[in-house]
Every structure is written in C-alpha cells, then in structure tokens.
C-alpha cells in the first residue's frame, strides 16, 4: 500500500488515498478535497510529516481521503487531539477538518481554546449551516426560523458567525473561502501553511442534500459581484465593475458600501481614495469585515487577519529544551527533601 514518492516533485496523486470517497454526489466537500490535494504538494512538506485530524460529521471523514497520517477522533474534540499531537512532535504539520456542528456546537469550547492558545495547527471549518451526517437538523450557524426535522416550527436559535467567533477567541489568523472557489481556496491554503500559529479558515460549503443552495446568493458564478476578495494593502473593492467599495464611517465606527464616482448619502461624490485599503494586521478591521451582514454587504473572502505571535507548542518546546539542558536525575529526585537512613 506504500507508494513511491519523490519529495522534490510532490503531486496531487501523492495525497490521494485508495479509499472510495463516500460523500453524497454533488457535495461541496469534493471540491474542498480536490483543492486541498491540489494545493498541498506546493507546500513542500512530505506527506509522511503531515497529520490530518478530525472530529465527527461529514467533514470529519476528510482524513480518510488524504494520504497522510490521519486521526478521525470523537465529536468536537479534534482541537484537543491536535494540540496533543503538535505538542508531542512540533515537527509535524498538523491540519484539522471540522464542520459547523462539530466545531461550533459540541466542540465550541475546544475551538475557542485552541485559537486563543495559538497552537500551530491549521483548521478548515466546512460551514454548510446544517447537520448532514445525522440527516438534516439545524446547526449553530443555521439562520433563525430554519425549518428542519428537529424544528418543524422553525428554529428559535440565533446563529453564530464562525469568523466572528474566531476573532472573539483571539485567533491569530482568520480567513474565509467558498468550496467551489479553487483560486481563493488555494491562496488561503498557501497562507495558512506559511502561518506560524493557529490558522483558521471558514469555508462556505454547500450541502446539496439537506441545505441545498444555502449560499447561492454569493456562491455561484453569476453572484461574483457579491464577493469581496480582500488583499493586504489593496482597496476593499467589489462588484462587477470593481467600483463598489467599503468606506469607514468615522461617526458610526462602521463600514459602509459606497460607489466610486457616485454620490454618497450626503451627496458628495465618492473618490477612489475614500475606499479603505485592507490591512490584515489590523484586528479591529478584520473583525469588522467578518461581522458584515450579507445582503447589505458583500461576503468578505480571503485572509481577514494575520498576526505573528508566540505559539503554545513553541513556548512549551522552548521551556522543555531549557529544562532538558540540565537533564533530570531520577535518583536525585527520589532522594530530594528530608530522608533518613536505617542501618
């Protein structure tokens, strides 16, 4: 079952397993898998040194299809397993596949803590706003009033926004993509691979069986004008002609949609220099971008925020190296403190 791999020339094939992929035909997970398998060879990391970790749910079958090391664990707890793996062997490249139910419902607590600790792992959250593997109950990202098997009268829950949650948890890297958007997903994956710390990516993923079309308003080819792809240093522009953009309203401390060359609410003609440039090192801006409601605003995609700060595993490793420089003596330890001799 072992195939020959040329580490200098890694290919998509090197990351494919011989297992039949068992997602429903037409599922957005296929696109994500293909994008990941296509992009990972670029990272130059031998698959022997990569571990995919997951919890439970459709997205969590992901490791079985990646020819790397893999651990399909228990519901919601993948961040804790991944933490243990990374702490035990910091040389490994550790990736985590999760979903909106696994990561934000049962596993919300662990996601919070892995993000704030900044463990050097990469997290892909497939957000389809529904429970797929249990056959169609509403999830923590489902819209209020959603009618599902478990909510025939409409869900009373109010949803959580994954990227917003990541900001609340003090994540060091927050990004967003769409399952079928190969170009943006590849760009984001490259950035995640380079980031030292917890890199979080929310991927809007269509569940064609239980929540088909959930993201049609901005996911399809015809809805490209509803997508704002952010790039560090470049103006926050979107729309068919690229003339629409986001401007900071200094009175409300919020963002507003304006159009270059058109009058704003006060009648002033908007100039190109009014459009806010993206600054991915600015946490406040990233947080604002993550929280924009779709409809009045476009969906914001790409790397919303990235900062370099010490990692949890790195700090533990350094502490360990320092302590290890004076290797402990078991004999000395057992004899430490008050002892007495019986002749």
């Amino acid at each position: 079952m072992t195939k020959l791999i040329d580490p200098q020339h890694l290919t998509k094939k090197d990351f494919e397993t011989d297992q039949d992929v068992r997602w429903c035909p037409g599922c957005g997970d296929y696109s994500i898998l293909a994008n990941v398998q296509k992009t990972m060879p670029e990272f130059g990391i031998h698959p022997d040194n990569i571990v995919w970790v997951s919890g439970i749910g459709c997205s969590s079958r992901f490791p079985y299809y990646m020819d790397t090391y893999g651990f399909h664990t228990i519901h919601g707890r993948a961040p804790a397993f991944a933490t243990g793996i990374k702490v035990a062997n910091p040389a490994l490249s550790v990736w985590l596949a999760t979903g909106d139910g696994d990561g934000l419902s049962i596993g919300g607590n662990h996601l919070l803590h892995v993000l704030r600790r900044n463990v050097d792992i990469k997290i892909l959250m497939f957000n389809n706003r529904i429970y797929g593997l249990t056959k169609g109950q509403y999830s923590p990202t489902s819209e209020t009033g959603k009618v599902t098997k478990s909510t025939p009268f409409g869900s009373a829950d109010q949803p959580v926004d994954p990227a917003g949650f990541a900001f609340g948890a003090n994540a060091s890297f927050v990004s967003r993509s769409i399952d079928t958007d190969a170009k943006n997903t590849a760009e984001v994956l490259r950035r995640m691979a380079k980031h030292v710390g917890t890199a979080f990516c929310e991927i809007y993923q269509n569940c064609n069986v239980f929540n088909d079309g959930a993201f049609d308003a901005f996911r399809g080819k015809s809805a490209k004008d509803q997508q704002l792809h952010v790039r560090h240093g470049e103006p926050l522009l979107f729309g068919e002609s690229g003339q629409k953009g986001l401007r900071l309203n200094t009175r409300t401390l919020g963002l507003e949609v304006v159009e270059i060359g058109s009058p704003d609410a006060s009648g002033r003609i908007v100039e190109a220099s009014d459009i806010l440039p993206h600054d991915e090192t600015n946490r406040a801006l990233g947080s604002l971008l993550a929280s924009l409601p779709f409809g009045p605003f476009p969906v914001v995609l790409g790397v919303l925020f990235a900062e370099l700060r010490p990692t949890y595993d790195g700090t533990l490793h350094t502490q360990g190296l320092e302590a290890n420089s004076k290797k402990g003596s078991l004999d000395k330890l057992l004899r430490s403190g008050t002892t007495w001799r019986v002749e």
């Binding site: 990569i50 035990a88 490994l92 533990l316 290797k327 008050t338």
Partner: protein, 617 residues
C-alpha cells in the same frame, strides 16, 4: 498535676495523635512537620489528613474543621490508627467534631484562649465544656495558646494577625517536647520557607521554641513519652504521599521507557497535586497541558500517544465520567494511555475531599460497547509509585489505555518509603514500527496481540485510524458483521493476555488456604492487614490477600479463593469487588461495606472477622 511528674519519659510502642483546628489554622502543616519529626526519629508511621472542601470555611464553625492524624510506632503499622491517644483541639468546633475519636483516658490538649463565647456559640456549645465535668473521662490540658503565642512572638515585630497564625508552631513545639523530638529540622524548614518574610519566620521560630519551653516549665513531664525506633530494612527512607508517589512513578516510567511523557489534566480535587508535581519535571521530558476541561485533557494525552509520547491523564469522580467517550476511542484505536483515577466520594460532585472506592465497576465496565481495558489499583501511598510504573508498562506493552485507581485517602496520606535503587528498576521496552513491508496499523504482535505503534513522521507508514470499526486484516474502516465480532473478541483477548505478564496473587497475612479469607483492594490494605494480624494474634483462623490487578485478575486468583471456606470482601462502596468476584468465579463472597467518606477502622474490621467466623462455627 505537678506532683505526679516522673523523672523520665514513659516508654510506649506507639501513639495516635490528632491535630484539629480551623481550616485556616495550619493543621495540615503542623501535621506534616510532626510527621517528619517522627520519621527522622525512626518510627514507622501512617498519616491521614482530613479536611473540608472549602478553602477557608467561616472561622470557628464545625464544618470548617481541618484534621490531621498520625500514627507512629516502634512496630510495623499499616494505618493511621482508629481512635486517638492524643487530641489537640485548637478551638471549640475542633473539640466538638473530634472528641468522639479520642480514646477514653486520652490526652486532650486544648487552646482555652479560643474558647470564647462567640466560638462556643458557633460550635453549638451551650456552656464552656472546659468549665464543666463533661470532659472528665479525659486528661485535659487547657492552655491559652493564643496568649502564650502572642507573648512569645512580640520581639519579632509581627502584626497581631501574624502572631495569631503562629499558634500552630507553638502547639507543635509543645508536642515536640512531649515526644522528645528535635526542633532543628522544623527550625531549618521555617528558615528556608520564610526567606522573603524574615519577621514571620522569626515569629514562627520563637513560637516553636516557646511551646517547647512551656512543656518544661509547666511541668507536663508526666505526659512525656518516648516511642523507640521501629525495626526496618536497612536503606535510605523518606516519607511519601500517594499523589507524589504516583507522579514520581510516572516520571520513573518516562525514564525507564526512554519516551517523553505528555500529561493532559484539568484541576480537580484530589487529583490536582499529580498535575502540580508532574509540571515541575520538564527536565525529565515531561510536558503538562492544563486543558480547558476534562475531555480536552484526555484527548490531548491520546493525541500525544498517537504521536509517540506516553499520554497520561489524572482525574477524579466527575472528571472520570467526562473522559468516558475518549477512553473508548483509545480502546478502539489501541493507543497506550494511563488514566489515573484518584477516587473520591460520589456520585456527581459528591464528597470531593473524602475517600471512597466506588469507581471500580465504572473503571472495568463503564463505557459504551464492549470496551475492555486493564484496571490496576495501588494499595498504599508508597505503592502508588510501583503501580504507576506498572500502568505505563502495561499500556505500552499491550497498546491499550490502562486505568490506575488510587483514592483520596492514599493520595493525601503518607508513609515511610524505602527509596528504591533506580538502577534496579526494570526497563520498559518501547518499540515503534518502522518496517513498511506488510504494514497496516492493526498488524499485531502474535504473543501480546498489541497492534503496531507507527508514529506520524515515520517514512512510508502513513495510515489513518479512528473510532469507526476497523478491518482486522487491513485496518481500513469496516462495517462487516463478522469482522466486528472478530475485532471485539481480539480486543478482549488482548486485555485478557495482560494476565500473562502480571504477578500471581500472593498472601499478605496468613496461610493460602483455610477457614476465612479477607480479600481487599486499594487503600483498605492497611486496615485489613492490621485487623487480620490482630485476629490471628488472638488465634483466629483468618488470612488476608490484597488484589492490585483488577482486570484481568491474576491467573491463580480463582483457585486461591476456592481454597478458603469463606471469603469476606470489605470495601468502601456497596460491594463492587464482590460483584466482580461473584460473577467471575461463582464464589459466594460476603460483602462488608462502608460508605461514609472515611477509611475502615481496624476495630470495625476485627468485629466483621469475628462475626463471619462466628457464623461459620
């Protein structure tokens, strides 16, 4: 009392002393210093701290009383003793809650300075017991320790509050005088402990010396005792508590296996001290992760095992319940893992600071599906060291999670321990799989049935494991009915084969056949052993065996049990080992149960032995 003073101390074979006071009075510290002094004097000893769950319960209340009992002797002893020969009560509440455990005629030392109207009321005394004859059954020495301490520490320049806090050292000084102990080790300890607060250190020293001097000047000589050295095997000794021994056993196992250890833990009483101790030992390749909850703690440990480290977690009561699902994953992915359960009173939050043995059936059976794993139990504080090493050995030899059961009583109790020669400890062999030829993750060792441990980063051994059932021959996901049965039987057989590498069941006291066998497990060891010894000294036909391997049992256990006419099983639960023994061996064992958050007394076990023998004759 002055005219009674004999010229030299009375010689005793042993004594039981209990210190009791407010939880802020420093009784645990007093007790542990007194213990060190007894150890240095060469006595055999056993201790039993008993404290409330509240850190500082309201002062003067009965539920805020903290106690520390020590039994020291010139003979072999195994328990902290039943009733106390000496009770030191620092306030009315301590007297109220502890007097019942003082032997009639025992010495009662009370701090009369704390017997104020307010404190008497808090302890529900209608009248001051020191002023009436309700204590006439005891030898009462009432001293205003508060006042004496304040006078003693005046010159150190400490505040009144700090002066009051030195009461325990004054008391300790008095107790040292009564038992002829050397002050030097405690003076040295104070010196090193209070380097940053020299005035407080000085105050404590003055208090200790003043208490000691008081014994002399107040002519308390007739209460002076001498407990000679115990006979012990030659060697270097230390005093050790169960949690410390567990942690050190784990450190030793990391050394003996040559593998780094990763502990995931979440603070919980009474297990936190294992985390505290292990977190100090990075120099031994030990990493501790204080996780966000009990579940994350065990999951991080399993992740570390998957990556090739020794994964460890330690918890108690509710924490154990939370780890259940993850233990199941470790069973089905067949990863080595040590789970230390320092049992406490349950169910739910139960009695966090009190002891119990009620998690045995949970350890053996408490998971979804057929999910066998090895369960072992330590029997005394020092034995935790050996059993922690055993837990790691079994886990890595058989690629399985192992539950090590200890409990609050042995975790916090202490006993002298002959420090082992490190070079004599057997190595633990860990071998990672590296050969790609014929590899799949569930390829097994023919003898142990352990699966291959192939860690991420190994060239050419990429594989996926998880909680879904795996195909016996390839390790891939399998829903095949026959395969599931084969895997279930294999997992069970693997755990059963642990019996091939554990010692046979031996006897602790008495012959290995006869009339009555008292069978125990866990921290009841000392009480049972002492009770059986006494009964045998009285000519009763009774033996004692103590089980440390609870799943699987030692191979000879069933046969051994059948050689006795009757088997008596005392447990601090409602009969859990009894259930196991009855179901495995179809033996009509008689259960003796206590579920009061407190250990067995030797005397109560003695009565059960007598009545069991009585029923038989």
């Amino acid at each position: 009392m002055a005219n009674l003073a004999p010229s030299s101390p009375q010689r005793l074979s042993g004594a039981v002393v209990r210190f009791a006071g407010d939880s802020g009075d420093g009784m645990q510290l007093t007790g542990s210093q007194f213990t060190t002094a007894a150890a240095l004097a060469g006595n055999d000893l056993a201790t039993f701290p008993d404290f409330p769950a509240e850190i500082r319960a309201p002062q003067g209340t009965t539920y805020g009383v903290s106690g520390f009992q020590i039994h020291f002797s010139s003979e072999d002893i195994f328990t902290p003793g039943d009733a106390a020969d000496v009770l030191v009560a620092m306030n009315p509440a301590a007297l109220k809650t502890n007097l019942k455990d003082l032997k009639r005629g025992g010495l009662l030392i009370v701090n009369s300075g704390a017997f104020t109207a307010a404190n008497l009321k808090k302890a529900n005394y209608a009248a001051n017991p020191l002023e009436e004859d309700s204590l006439s059954a005891y030898q009462v020495v009432a001293i205003d320790i508060t006042k004496h301490t304040q006078q003693a520490v005046q010159s150190a320049g400490v505040s009144n509050k700090e002066a009051n806090r030195a009461k325990n050292f004054w008391t300790l000084g008095l107790m040292y005088w009564l038992y002829g102990r050397d002050l030097t080790p405690t003076l040295d300890w104070i010196q090193s402990k209070f380097t940053k607060e020299p005035e407080i250190g000085e105050g404590n020293k003055l208090a200790l010396k003043a208490g000691h001097a008081y014994g002399e000047t107040a002519e308390l000589s007739h209460f002076r005792y001498e407990v000679p050295k115990a006979v012990a095997e030659p060697g270097l000794y230390r005093n050790i508590g169960g949690n410390q021994a567990t942690a050190w056993g784990l450190v030793a196992a990391a050394e003996l296996s040559g593998r780094p250890m990763t502990m995931g833990a979440y603070p919980i009483t009474p297990a936190s001290d294992v985390l505290h101790e292990l977190s100090r030992h990075k120099a031994f390749g030990i990493t501790t992760i204080q996780a966000e909850d009990e579940i994350a703690a065990i999951c991080a440990a399993i992740g570390a095992s998957f990556a090739g480290n020794l994964g460890v977690t330690a918890t108690s009561g509710p924490g154990m319940a939370l780890k259940t699902e993850a233990i199941g994953l470790a069973i089905t992915t067949e990863l080595p893992l040590v789970i230390v359960n320092i049992q406490r009173g349950g169910p739910s939050t139960g009695l966090p600071t009190k002891t119990e043995q009620a998690d045995l059936l949970q350890a053996v059976y408490g998971r979804n599906g057929e999910s066998p794993l090895p369960v072992i139990a330590a029997q005394s504080p020092a034995n935790c060291f050996d059993m922690a090493i055993e837990a790691v050995r079994i886990a890595v030899t058989y690629m399985t999670p192992v539950i090590l059961l200890t409990d609050g009583y042995m975790a916090n109790g202490t006993e002298p321990w002959k420090i082992p020669d490190v070079s004599s400890l057997p190595k633990i062999e860990v071998k990672f799989h590296t050969e790609p030829e014929g590899f799949h993750p569930f390829v097994r060792n023919d003898e142990t049935l352990a699966r291959a441990w192939a860690i991420p980063g190994t060239p050419g051994l990429r594989h996926r494991i998880g909680g879904l059932e795996k195909d016996y021959a390839s390790g891939h996901i399998s829903y095949d009915p026959k395969n599931h049965e084969k895997m279930s039987l294999t997992r069970a057989e693997k755990v059963a084969r642990v019996a091939d590498s554990i010692p046979s069941q031996t006897m602790t006291e008495g012959p290995d056949s006869g009339k009555l066998l008292v069978l125990g497990w866990g921290s009841t060891y000392g009480a049972i052993r002492e009770a059986v010894r006494k009964a045998r000294a009285d000519g009763l036909e009774v033996s004692h065996a103590h089980v440390r391997y609870l799943n699987p049992f030692p191979k000879n256990l069933g046969e051994l049990l059948r050689r006795f006419e009757r088997v008596l099983i005392p447990e601090l639960n409602l009969g859990q080992l009894s259930v196991l023994i009855r179901s495995r061996f179809l033996i009509d064992a008689k259960s003796v149960n206590k579920i009061q958050g407190q250990p067995f007394h030797t005397d109560e076990l003695g009565e059960h032995i007598r009545s069991a023998l009585g029923e038989m004759s």
